[in-house]
Symmetry: C2
Subunit: 407 residues, 2 copies
């Protein structure tokens, strides 16, 4: 039997993972804490927009008909301030000074900006040299009540990821609390006896834990909270702790212990704990021994322990899965390869690149990094260009999907 | 005297603002709280990367010379686990099983993966059918100590905005605290007596406060904290409160009271308080009456109260200023106009657009919105395409700068 047989393609891995989305429910959030959350209800206009005939220029309000009849000079009856009830124009020979944001005074239907008039002794005179009479029209400089939206019309669709614009809209319509999508409970777990705490000085055969923190930061950037744990390469301890995490979390993200090593217990233990393997190994570099499985509604992503494998695995597989679970579209971004690049193995390759934008195009410049899989090589990179497995030569000017990890 | 004389162009406004950057100092932050902060020190490798000759495949370690001499079968002397001190290969006829992440045993110089050997009765036999002898080379499947970086070499440059990748690197080198750029103290202040609290039901001539919350969310998305205030259209109260805010904050962002209205006291009060006007009015729509000034190290952006004016002003003027102040490059993004668009007034126009990515290109689709300046129109938009003042016809396929406000 060919050992390569069970290795699936990246496309197959994505399809399997995306077929395993879950719903994590909804909860009520305060509007001002809802940035980046996913709206689980529609937001409708509580009243017309604008809510009243809204003055959009500082100047005078009057009757257009009076101008058409030849009146040029209007007595100022008073000032309509923003935030005050509508005044009434008592006489069509008069005008009322109006301020931007105020309600249009009753019995008026045009606002003439200060730039077009002169005011003297309580009288406003139209300065016809400053403008052409043709520019005057009914409701000029006024936004009519309901011009934008009628009361009850939909302003923000269910499923929208709340941005700063939506925060403003929620305030406008007086939404103080709203139903948003709940997030999965996520734990990120490292394994590997060579790992020590960040605060420790490693011995010459040890390194510090870093993968879980990089992953936690990816999640944080995308608005997700997570816990972390580290488990020793001991089968009994691993099994006990993982059993407990499967009870308490919706998603387990592992780093390490999925390869062929003597202490790579994870695939075995997960299956013993009833997590069904959906695949193990993907035709990709880095990250080939990636293991993915499900136990009822619990989802397990077990990435190999190489730091870049774990990092790119989280971006390529976990994030699109959680986004789809929450109902967010995963838009594919692409970039243009800025110079020829060769990659011999028949594996899908996540090429570490920096990005330059030029003429509305995103260009991907392959990093000179030695590709050891160490996170240190990512300090000068902005993303991973995704090069298909079936090819070995990639030409300058060709377009490929890209995963970006910087703001 | 021509009243238009003092209106400056968007380009001039940007230049004046960018000439007024400030330094807000530095402070010490915990590494795990530093996501999106700006590094104010270099981060160097505390030791070589990798820190030891690092096994990158599960398999056996041995001497390459032995294979070259024709040895095919090696007695397994023991297992080198990750996280254990280096074992010593006692006999060159032997091998040691090694696990990914472990230190290379002493007296070995090649790792042969499990896929290429068979193990029986404590002996490993090279399976020459599985591979070509040419594929064997000195240090195969091993990353030599210091291969990536030498101890003391620079890993992350001062001035880098910390992403998830840097969080991983900081953990790797054991950085628990680091010096980052401090942020300005920012307050966002609305004016306008037509505004009521979000929790209130507005009367028919009132609207709810929304601009300050949209701006606060923009700042939050970019990692900045801010306070908010609302001040009534009363000259005495305004002056008193603004005097106090000028003492307590580095940056004041205003929404409203900068136009020609009877209650637009802001330019006058700011000058009375010693804030020097650097400009008032920009040839743009929306947001023409934008006022900008300085008092020593305090910076005042006073945007007109129209919600979209305030919103786009914050994105176009404040954010690049604060980024430059912190030492971050402001990279101009561009997009391709997806259909012809006309805009008659000789003003720089911030056209509300949605974005589609296609073939590595960003396309900007003008929104049908009625352009009233209401935030509700932004729910379907992704950004503002920046159309120059001197033109009126813009053609499909042309490229313009773009301001994006969604993730």
């Amino acid at each position: 039997m060919n050992k390569q047989e069970n290795i699936i393609s990246v496309k197959e891995a994505v399809e399997i993972i995306q077929s395993q989305v879950e719903d994590f429910g909804e909860y009520i959030e305060g509007s001002f804490d809802s940035l980046h959350k996913i709206l689980a209800q529609n937001i409708v206009a509580d009243r017309d927009f604008p809510a009243y005939d809204n003055v959009r220029m500082d100047g005078i309000a009057l009757k257009l008909e009076s101008i058409q009849k030849g009146v040029k000079t209007f007595k100022i009856q008073g000032i309509q301030a923003a935030g005050s009830p509508a005044m009434l124009l008592e006489n069509e020979q008069n005008c009322i000074e109006v301020m931007t944001g105020s309600i249009l005074p009753k019995n008026t239907d045009i606002v003439i900006q200060y730039e077009w008039i002169s005011i003297k002794n309580g009288t406003a005179t139209l300065n016809f040299e400053a403008f052409d009479k043709q520019q005057l029209s009914y409701f000029k400089n006024i936004q009519a009540k309901g011009f934008d939206k009628k009361a009850g019309s939909e302003l923000i669709k269910k499923g929208t990821r709340i941005s700063s614009a939506e925060i403003g809209i929620l305030a406008t319509v007086g939404t103080q609390n709203l139903v948003v999508k709940d997030q999965p409970k996520i734990i990120i777990i490292s394994t590997g006896d060579e790992l020590v705490a960040v605060s420790e000085t490693p011995k010459n055969y040890q390194i510090r834990r870093s993968n879980v923190f990089a992953l936690q930061a990816i999640l944080q950037e995308n608005g997700f909270e997570s816990s972390t744990d580290h488990i020793a390469d001991n089968k009994i301890v691993l099994k006990e702790k993982i059993a407990s995490h499967l009870k308490n979390y919706d998603v387990l993200l592992f780093s390490g212990a999925v390869s062929k090593g003597k202490f790579d217990f994870l695939p075995e233990i997960l299956q013993e704990l009833g997590v069904k393997k959906l695949f193990h190994k993907v035709k990709q570099r880095p990250g080939k021994p990636f293991w993915f499985g499900k136990k009822e509604k619990k989802t397990v992503f077990a990435f190999p322990g190489n730091p870049v494998s774990t990092y790119v695995g989280c971006l390529k597989y976990f994030l699109p899965w959680v986004n789809k679970s929450l109902g967010i579209d995963n838009k594919t971004k692409t970039a243009i390869l800025a110079k020829d690049f060769d990659f011999k193995p028949k594996l899908y390759y996540f090429l570490s690149v920096s990005i330059e934008e030029k003429n509305g195009q995103r260009y991907a410049i392959p990093q000179k990094g030695k590709g050891s899989g160490d996170l240190a090589n990512l300090a000068n990179a902005d993303g991973f260009l995704e090069l298909p497995a079936e090819r070995t030569n990639f030409k300058k000017g060709e377009e490929f999907p890209i995963i970006l990890f910087r703001k």
